[in-house]
Symmetry: C2
Subunit: 427 residues, 2 copies
């Protein structure tokens, strides 16, 4: 039974109990939301891990970190270091996007060591396998894809990105639209090529019922991928993107009917003033399904700083309904991230997420800020470091720049505003 | 004649010509906006520098970098390095907030080397002088303050923060309100202490006409300081903050009548959902005066990353009417920034500013993003580096993580989505 099916029967699973306790929300409310599909709890029935997470309505905004080898950097060791960096920095989920090396064994090691939900994009493995075996990804068959999905499900993958909305219809709209950066989703690109070359419909769309059957068996949460997410602000919210979203909305309905947990993925690069509308649209078209966004990046001109461009967009997205932020690292658009980039990316996304939690009234969010502010007012540096989103970084800064004072910091020294007024504002 | 007075007479100054050309806006429109006080051009009549800037309605969002010695780090050399870092990173203005060392000669060196408008907070120098000479900042006289302001004006300072809205009335409201972090503005704190200890009205408020006379003589733009800006999200948009803003609105009117260019300073720490209202309120209460915000920081828990918390808030603020962003560095709340922090802070604020420029239709903003996106699509790495907001950083990343390819990056290698589809989406 999936979490969704259990919830529909009013059954409380151990995972629901963990999520309700962690989030400090009423368990009956949580069960209702899982039942209606506005919350999912990605956890494969075959896998056990320390920290199941709920994603969706009324819950803390979650953060995902992508790791994984590439053909250029196929070393598993590096990716394990990144996995640890992501978890230590507070990632709520991790996706293994490996495309280099022995993908099955890499995934096994990562699954074994990952304390949070783990996601994949099965078309990557399928493409790499078929390209190696048969020379071209266009030779993928529908069975190849479903086989890989089933093998990954058996291995314990908790959620999978499947680009089911790339169809002949949405490709036609993309082509008619005309775009600056066409397709920037890898999975989306493979499927476009496959569909165009083979002149056949997307197997993930045509055989959606078979996909649902596998997902249901293992309680794999489907993350309906946005293969046509805009890759630059000029392409945002265009007819190609919205056509795909309309199709994904239909598929959410079918997945729910089949008892399969579902999220929907979203943009991408989006100008500041289009973000709120994008969130509303997804919630409406996909009937409240949890929304998992990559960014959004609010400008295209900041390679090296795209953790910041996406923290801006992610915060506004989360304020307007996004539930799950996929991090973007400072290496985005330039190369595979290092472990340092992974940490920077997770922290930036967590800041964006937390800023939204504060205004959404998530239990503990505002209180955290308040405690920090009281520690700041009291000039209690140990407490400030302890409460910092990155205590290591806060301690480094304090150690390096305290100016030798136990009391004030080196910005203002004894001219510290809070210190100057403290005896003069007592009532 | 000030820029404001000139504009009222329909006179086009050389600075207006420079600003109109840089911003690619109609000169007559610019003159009208300077005349109505919705745009200011901070430039002291005694100073010449390469790049005058306009701040306000319809113009590119500007970024200010604070530098300056502290008692802990009084070395001028470090501050010159920071000045250069700020300018190189693209700051549109610099404030010298020095409080350590020989303030007059430090300011002279900075004024000589600064290619953009330079601002100060004269109460810092007054407080340091009086504390040294007479043992307590409460012994400042109104003449002390006006003398320092006049000396700084003669030296060529282009804009000055004056906390004229800290009055007995606003202090009473602050006290009645009760706050977590009370006062976090240094100038604000000095004035609160002075007013409470001496039981007298704020000299900057009482002698506002004398202040205006000096500002008019040298065309110093007044930046009406927000001494009661919230120092934590829990204190945001409270009665103390808004009371001060109401008073500042009245002073804007008086300054305009006296022919003095004026900006208004704003928060501070503000939760995501209060930013838009704060911007609207300032524009209405201050009759469209340019709004200069510090942050706003959307959460309190991220020391070490407050350039990110403030880039989030700054972007939303700029989208909703803020005209001028004061940067926040990663060292904020922990110590005086290093040159590296200065650069990080300027770039983060510029990203926030530019994201707003894109949606405001600022000439060249959207075009910059489009050019970058085309270079990205073409996998033209030299062009991407050239167009990056920080070409040095972009080049470093590309050099370190290219994976040896001239064509693709090491994130996806030959699986690059844009490359995969390029021949399949031709019409």
């Amino acid at each position: 039974m999936t979490q969704l099916e259990a919830a529909r029967k009013g059954k409380i699973t151990p995972e629901m109990e963990i999520v309700a306790r962690d989030e400090r929300i009423d368990i009956d409310l949580l069960v209702r939301r899982v039942a209606e599909g506005t919350v999912c709890i990605p956890k494969n029935v075959r896998r056990d891990f320390a920290s199941p997470r709920g994603v969706g309505r009324g819950l803390r905004i979650k953060v995902n970190a992508n790791i994984g080898t590439s053909t250029t950097y196929p070393d598993l060791k590096d990716e394990i270091i990144k996995l640890n960096a992501a978890i230590e920095a507070g990632a709520d989920a991790v996706m293994d996007l490996s495309t280099g090396g022995d993908l099955t064994s890499i995934r096994k090691v990562i699954l074994d060591r990952c304390a949070v939900p783990l996601g994949t994009v099965p078309i990557y493995e399928t493409s790499v396998n078929v390209a190696n075996e048969r020379g071209a990804i266009t030779r993928i068959t529908a069975d190849d894809l479903l086989d890989v999905i089933e093998r990954q499900a058996k291995q314990g993958v908790d959620f999978m990105t499947v680009h089911c909305g790339i169809t002949k219809e949405s490709i036609k709209r993309l082509r008619d639209q005309g775009r600056v950066t066409d397709v920037v989703s890898r999975g989306g690109a493979f499927l476009v090529k496959w569909i165009v070359v083979n002149d056949k419909e997307n197997p993930l769309y045509e055989r959606f019922d078979d996909l649902l059957a596998i997902a249901r068996d293992y309680d794999v949460t489907l993350s309906l991928g946005d293969g046509f997410r805009p890759g630059c602000t000029a392409d945002a919210t265009d007819r190609a993107q919205i056509q795909e979203l309309v199709i994904l909305g239909e598929l959410v309905k079918r997945a729910r009917e089949a008892g399969v947990q579902t999220m929907v993925e979203g943009p991408g690069h989006v100008p500041l003033d289009q973000i709120a509308a994008n969130m509303m649209l997804q919630k409406r078209l996909c009937e409240g399904a949890p929304f998992y966004v990559l960014g959004p990046l609010v400008t295209d001109i900041a390679p090296g700083y795209d953790h910041i461009t996406s923290a801006i967009g992610g915060s506004i997205a989360a304020m307007n309904g996004a539930d799950f932020l996929c991090y973007v690292t400072p290496a985005e658009h330039m190369g595979l991230p290092t472990a340092k980039d992974v940490k920077e990316g997770v922290i930036a996304s967590r800041i964006a997420a937390h800023a939204a939690d504060v205004i959404k009234g998530i239990p503990g969010a505002k209180e955290w800020d308040l405690e920090m502010s009281k520690a700041r007012k009291a000039r209690d540096w140990n407490k400030q470091i302890e409460l910092a989103i990155d205590p290591v970084r806060a301690k480094e800064l304090r150690d390096q720049r305290s100016g030798g004072s136990d009391d004030v910091c080196s910005m203002c020294g004894e001219l510290c505003a809070m210190k100057v007024v403290e005896e003069y504002l007592k009532k």
